[in-house]
C-alpha cells in the first residue's frame, strides 16, 4: 500500500467516524424531542422513522458523498502514477474518456456500499425504537441502546472516564507515536466497560468501509487500466504489520499472473478472506495490500499453503460412548475393534481446531448404529439432541456430520435457549443463534445467485449423468441419475449446503444430494444446522475445502471464527 493510499484510507476513516458522533446526537435529539424523555409509543416509533432516516442521510451519507467526490480522483491519480513508471506506450499512462466513465461508475458503486450500510443501520435503529415501544423499555435504556448501535463502546456516556478514554482514542488513533497508549486505552475500554458493548455497530462498519472503499477503488481502477494496456502480471505490494494475515505474509512481493491469482482465490482459504474479485478484495477486510501491475519481473510459483498439523488417533477418545452391540456390517469384529474403528474414523475427519472443539465439549451419551429393518436398506444416520444419541455408519464423512450436529447443539447458549423455549417452543442450536453464521449463509447464498442456470452449472461441475439399471423381481428398470464425478471430495455435503440454501430445491428439483424440500421447509432452522454439520464434516478434506472456499467463503470464515471463539472461551 502506498503512503498516499494509506493516508487517504486513514483520513476517510477518521472523517466518517467523527460524523457518527453528530449522527448519534441528532438521532437521540429527535427521539428525545418526540417523546419528551418518556416511554415511546408505537405510533411515535413509526412517526420517528423519517426523522431518523434524515439524520443518517444528513450526517453519514452526506459525508460519504463528499469524500468520494472530493477525494477519489486522488486515488485515480495514484494509479496513473504507478503506470507512469512502466515501460508501456504513453497512451496507457494518461486519463482517457473511458477512464473517466470508469471512475464515475466506480464512485457510484462505492457510494452504494455506504448506502447499504446506512439502510442496514436505519433498520436496526428503527427496530430498537419500535421494540422499545412494544416492550415498554425505559427511555434511558432505549437511548443507550441507540447510542451503542451507532458507536458501540465509543458511544457518548455519562461516565467521565469513559468519555476521556474515547476522546483520547479518537484524537490519537492515527498518530503512530501514540500507538501503544491508544491500544492500551482501547483495551481498557473493552475490558473495563465491556458491559456497554453492543457487538456490531455502525462505527465498526463505517470505519471498515471507509478503509476498504479506498483500497477497492484503487484495485478496480488498477485492473481496468492494466487490462487496457495488456498487462497480466501483478506484484502483491504493501507493508506488514503486527497482525498481517498469514496469507498476506506469504504473498508479499510475489509476482503472479492474473490466471495464477484467480486460481489462488478459487482454491485456497485463509482466515479473513472475503468474497469477491481477488484484485478488489485482496487479503480481506481492512487488508493494506494491493496488486500493482508489473512488466519486467519474473513470475513466481504460487506460494504453497502451510500444511495443517496432523491429528493422531490419540487426539480424541469417543470409545467410552460407542455402543458396539448393534453395529451392523462389522460382524466378526470385537467390541474393542469396533470402538477403535469409530474412534479412528472420526479422528481421520478432524482438524486441530475441530479436535479441540470435540475435546472441550461433553461427549454424546451414546454413539451407535441401528440395523436396517429391510435387506439392502441403507444404514441410518441421525442425531437426537434430547437424548444426545448419535447414530451413524462409517461411510464417507457421515460420522463427523452427525458429530457436527452434536457439537452444534451442545455449544449453544443455554441462557438464550431458556428464552427460545418460551418464545418459539424449542431450543436453538449454535448455528441458529449465531448472527454471523446466519448472515454468512445469506451472504454466500446471495453471492452464488442460485438461479436455475447457476444450479445446473454447479451440477455439471460436480456430477456426471449416468444410466443405471436395477433388477427387481423379474424385471430390470433403467434410470438416469447424477453420479459424483469424484469420490471422497465431499460432493454430497457441498451439494447439501446448496440444498439448504435453496430450501431443498437442489435435491427435490435438480436431483443432487441433499435433504430435500419437505425436510428444509418443515424443519425450522434445519438449513443452518445442516450447513454447520456439513462444514464440520468437511474441514479435514483438502479437496472439499477448495470447493467450500470457492462457494461458501463467508460460511467457512464464520465457522472458523465461531469455533475459535468457543475454544478460547
Amino acid at each position: 500500500m502506498s503512503r498516499i493510499l494509506e493516508k487517504l484510507a486513514d483520513q476517510h476513516e477518521e472523517r466518517l467516524l467523527n460524523v457518527l458522533y453528530n449522527l448519534e446526537n441528532d438521532v437521540v435529539k429527535e427521539v428525545t424531542r418526540a417523546t419528551k424523555g418518556q416511554l415511546v409509543s408505537q405510533r411515535l416509533a413509526i412517526q420517528l422513522q423519517p426523522q431518523i432516516r434524515k439524520a443518517i442521510q444528513d450526517n453519514f451519507l452526506n459525508e460519504a458523498d463528499l469524500i468520494i467526490n472530493e477525494e477519489y480522483n486522488k486515488i485515480a491519480k495514484e494509479v496513473l502514477d504507478s503506470f507512469g513508471e512502466l515501460k508501456i506506450p504513453k497512451k496507457f499512462k494518461s486519463l482517457t474518456e473511458v477512464d473517466l466513465q470508469t471512475i464515475n461508475a466506480l464512485k457510484f458503486q462505492t457510494f452504494s456500499g455506504f448506502e447499504d450500510i446506512a439502510e442496514r443501520f436505519l433498520k436496526v435503529i428503527n427496530d430498537e425504537v419500535y421494540q422499545s415501544a412494544i416492550a415498554g423499555r425505559p427511555f434511558e435504556d432505549m437511548v443507550s441502546n441507540i447510542r451503542s448501535h451507532i458507536n458501540g463502546v465509543y458511544k457518548q456516556s455519562n461516565s467521565r472516564e469513559i468519555n476521556e478514554l474515547v476522546d483520547f482514542i479518537n484524537e490519537n488513533k492515527f498518530d503512530n507515536a501514540k500507538k501503544a497508549q491508544v491500544e492500551e486505552a482501547i483495551r481498557k475500554l473493552h475490558t473495563q466497560y465491556a458491559s456497554d458493548r453492543a457487538g456490531n455497530n455502525l462505527r465498526r462498519y463505517a470505519g471498515q468501509i471507509a478503509h476498504d472503499s479506498v483500497m477497492q477503488f484503487h484495485g478496480q481502477f488498477t485492473v481496468a487500466k492494466a487490462k487496457e494496456a495488456g498487462i497480466d502480471k501483478f506484484t502483491y505490494t504493501g507493508t506488514l504489520v503486527r497482525d498481517s494475515r498469514e496469507f498476506c505474509q506469504r504473498m508479499l512481493n510475489k509476482v503472479l499472473t492474473e490466471e495464477q491469482i484467480r486460481e489462488i482465490w478459487n482454491t485456497q482459504g485463509w482466515a479473513g478472506k472475503s468474497t469477491g474479485d481477488p484484485f478488489i478484495v485482496r487479503g480481506g477486510y481492512r487488508c493494506r495490500h494491493t496488486w500493482i501491475p508489473t512488466i519486467d519481473e519474473t513470475v513466481d510459483e504460487i506460494p504453497e499453503q502451510p500444511e495443517e498439523p496432523t491429528i493422531n488417533a490419540n487426539s480424541i477418545d469417543i470409545k467410552s460412548v460407542v455402543d458396539a452391540s448393534p453395529i451392523a456390517n462389522l460382524k466378526g469384529k470385537s467390541q474393542k475393534e469396533i470402538k477403535d474403528l469409530y474412534n479412528d474414523k472420526l479422528t481421520s475427519l478432524l482438524t486441530p481446531l475441530t479436535t479441540q472443539v470435540i475435546n472441550k465439549t461433553e461427549k454424546p451419551n451414546v454413539i451407535t448404529n441401528e440395523i436396517p429393518k429391510k435387506k439392502n436398506q441403507r444404514q441410518k444416520a441421525y442425531y437426537r439432541p434430547s437424548e444426545k444419541r448419535l447414530v451413524s455408519h462409517l461411510e464417507e464423512q457421515t460420522l463427523a456430520h452427525e458429530y457436527g450436529h452434536h457439537i452444534d447443539w451442545s455449544i449453544a447458549d443455554k441462557k438464550e435457549n431458556i428464552l427460545s423455549r418460551n418464545i418459539i417452543g424449542r431450543e436453538k442450536a449454535w448455528s441458529e443463534q449465531n448472527v454471523t453464521f446466519q448472515q454468512a449463509l445469506i451472504l454466500d447464498k446471495n453471492n452464488l445467485n442460485l438461479t436455475e442456470e447457476k444450479i445446473i452449472a454447479v451440477r455439471k461441475e460436480l456430477y456426471n449423468y449416468e444410466t443405471e439399471k436395477v433388477k427387481k423381481r423379474k424385471y430390470t428398470y433403467t434410470y438416469e441419475r447424477y453420479v459424483e464425478k469424484e469420490k471422497n471430495v465431499g460432493t454430497s455435503a457441498i451439494s447439501d449446503i446448496l440444498d439448504a440454501m435453496t430450501k431443498g430445491q437442489v435435491f427435490s428439483k435438480y436431483k443432487m444430494a441433499g435433504h430435500g424440500r419437505s425436510y428444509y421447509i418443515e424443519r425450522d432452522g434445519s438449513d443452518l444446522r445442516e450447513t454447520f454439520a456439513n462444514l464440520f464434516a468437511l474441514q479435514n478434506n483438502k479437496e472439499a475445502m477448495k470447493k467450500v472456499n470457492k462457494y461458501f467463503p463467508n460460511l467457512q470464515k464464520a465457522f472458523l471464527q465461531g469455533m475459535k471463539e468457543y475454544v478460547e472461551q
Binding site: 439392502n376 436398506q377 444416520a381 441421525y382 437426537r384 434430547s386 424385471y475 424443519r523
Partner: protein, 69 residues
Amino acid sequence: MLNNKQIEEALQKATKLEDYEKLYITLFAEPVPITSYNWGEFPIEDVIDAILDNKPIEKDKLLEKNVDF
C-alpha cells in the same frame, strides 16, 4: 387408479428419476419422504420397491422426535 399392468408399463417407460417420482406421487398422492436412512441421494430403489409393493415409503417417526439427519 392405475392397475398393475399400467404401473409396470409406466415403470418400463421411466428413464429419469423424475419419471419414477411422478409415478410415486400419482400412486400415493404424496411426495417421496426423506428418512433417516435414505437422505443424501434420491432413494430410487426405495421408490421402485414402494411402487412394486403398492405401499408408500414409511414415514420416519424420528422426524417427529426432533432429530437432525
